[in-house]
């Protein structure tokens, strides 16, 4: 314990967590009279003041519709909206801003690809491959299109540590495989999947692949060109940006060939009742007035993360993960679910036979916010034969002291239930 505090002090010179916490106004909240210990970052991250300010500034001094007016405000809103797209393009190293489509979030991005890219290619008896550790958002859209086309879903299995059985991918792929959609980091297990390997396997077989980056963009630097995936999707709200904004990255030539997802304003060049000419990328996929403030907020959020630096973020998060894992491994009646060698700072656990919601309530009374339940990954829960887990997910602004508070709260819960 003392040793860890000393470590964190020496670390402070490079990455001052206390100072960084001041960027996040909500972290000063008191919950049931106790300081908030926010460990539900995998559900959504908190927002730094710079992002909140950017949204406020937009509504106070820029609010207008984009790509339409010839007036001053519309120009200003459009510029900020498109500048944000360029920032995001650089952030994920896309080749062009045309490949960066604003959507509501990961879920909408997956649905868009399922309906406009995959569904038209599917025939009866074809298959789409996903993994057992997918979030429901990367299962249900595929079920919808596969049901419609009488196609099948094939599942890459996992092992007892919650690791993907990559060696099975080759066996699952056949001439009827039309698409692979795979999660980068599991939201309920924390497992970091070897996506590069799977992308290579997919492409060796000429199968396009989507990577669900909802949980990965907050932990690791993403370079879509280096990864080589055909689509990469993520939500803004998990990386310090507001809710209701996310990104679909797609290779330009694929996006070009895809039909629009929704019809409406902004996605057209010319409309007559006889024929409509669609707008160019990326606007073809952005029907209707978009979430302008959200996009601007996302641009500021990615800058904020870049300024912090992923190396620093990783150092702090690894420290938190190792510290929590070490503590929880020693706790009697506590079992960690998801023990992959390659893991993000997510610790899912079960406590004896105490239901996750009871754990969640007990922790909440101590000011500790965790997620309790199946985390929208019911197949994972079924695999481990559990109803749900309590999940502590750490961000760079969490501290080792907060892990201690979590541990104490867990011990309290065990005492209440097991005496």
């Amino acid at each position: 314990m003392h040793q860890f505090i000393q470590n964190s002090k020496s670390e402070n010179q490079i990455f001052d967590v206390k100072k960084i916490r001041q960027d996040f106004p909500i972290l000063n909240t008191k919950v049931h009279g106790k300081p908030l210990v926010y460990l539900d970052n995998a559900a959504t991250s908190q927002k730094p003041k710079v992002v909140i300010d950017a949204i406020q500034k937009y509504y106070e001094s820029q609010n207008s519709n984009v790509h339409r007016g010839v007036h001053f405000l519309s120009d200003s809103a459009t510029n900020s909206y498109e500048e944000a797209r360029d920032k995001i393009k650089n952030f994920i190293n896309a080749k062009s801003s045309k490949e960066v489509i604003y959507v509501r979030g990961t879920t909408e991005a997956i649905n868009l690809v399922a309906h406009t890219f995959v569904k038209p290619k599917l025939n009866e008896g074809d298959n789409v491959i996903v993994s057992l550790m997918e979030h429901h958002a990367n299962i249900v859209p595929w079920q919808i299109v596969c049901d419609e086309k009488k196609a099948k879903i094939k599942i890459i299995p996992i092992n007892e540590f919650g690791e993907l059985k990559v060696e099975e991918v080759n066996n699952l792929i056949d001439e009827k495989t039309k698409f692979i959609s795979l999660v980068h980091i599991s939201n309920s297990l924390g497992t970091i999947n070897p996506i590069k390997k799977v992308i290579e396997l997919a492409h060796k077989n000429n199968i396009p692949i989507l990577i669900d980056g909802a949980q990965s963009v907050c932990h690791s630097k993403i370079d879509v060109q280096d990864l080589g995936c055909d689509f990469f999707v993520f939500s803004g709200h998990k990386i310090c940006a507001p809710t209701g904004i996310g990104i679909l990255y797609g290779k330009e030539k694929l996006l070009e060939a895809m039909p629009p997802y929704q019809g409406g304003g902004d996605m057209i060049l010319q409309v007559t009742f006889e024929k409509t000419i669609y707008n160019d990328l990326p606007y073809k996929f952005e029907a209707g007035t978009p979430n302008i403030a959200g996009a601007i907020g996302l641009g500021v959020a990615v800058e904020y993360l870049q300024n912090l630096g992923y190396e620093n973020i990783n150092t702090q998060e690894s420290k938190l993960l190792n510290y929590a894992t070490e503590k929880f491994s020693k706790l009697e009646n506590v079992r960690i679910i998801g023990t992959s060698k390659n893991k993000a700072s997510i610790v899912s656990f079960v406590m004896a036979d105490i239901h996750a919601h009871d754990v969640g309530t007990i922790l909440d009374q101590e000011g500790v916010a965790v997620r309790a339940g199946h985390h929208c990954t019911q197949p994972v829960m079924d695999y481990f034969k559990i109803a749900g887990t309590a999940r502590a997910s750490f961000s760079f602004y969490n501290t080792l002291e907060e892990v201690d508070i979590l541990e104490d709260a867990v011990k309290k819960g065990i005492k209440i239930f097991l005496g």
Partner: protein, 149 residues
Amino acid sequence: MSNLNELYQEVILDHNKNPRYFKKLENYNRKIEARNPLCGDQYTIYLLIEDGKIKNIGFEGVGCAISKASSSLMTSSVVNQSIEFSKNLFNKMHLIFTGKSNSINEDELGSLFALSGVSEFPARVKCASLSWHALNGVLSEIHETVTTE
């Protein structure tokens, strides 16, 4: 901590650990699923209803301590009682769970009083009332059928 003790009282912990009427009935004429898809609580309640009375009741399934204890306390309270009584009890408990009850009579409620701590935990009201809503649904149907006939 005092709030937590209110919620997880001895009675609740006991009914969670050793739920009463926790079995499928061999002989039943009504069955209802009580599900909370958000948290995964899932119970099946079996009822044998004869002559306007709940002659027998049983439940099975999985869920948190609050939902399980509440189901156990509910089954214990309505077995051998009339439909009218059970529906009134649902209304009373619903007010207690949601903190809208003006007068809570501890003596009258007996063991059910242990569930009154739930009102301090808005996120858990659904857990406590899950099986009660299911039961009330079945009983209301019977009631409606009876009154329309």
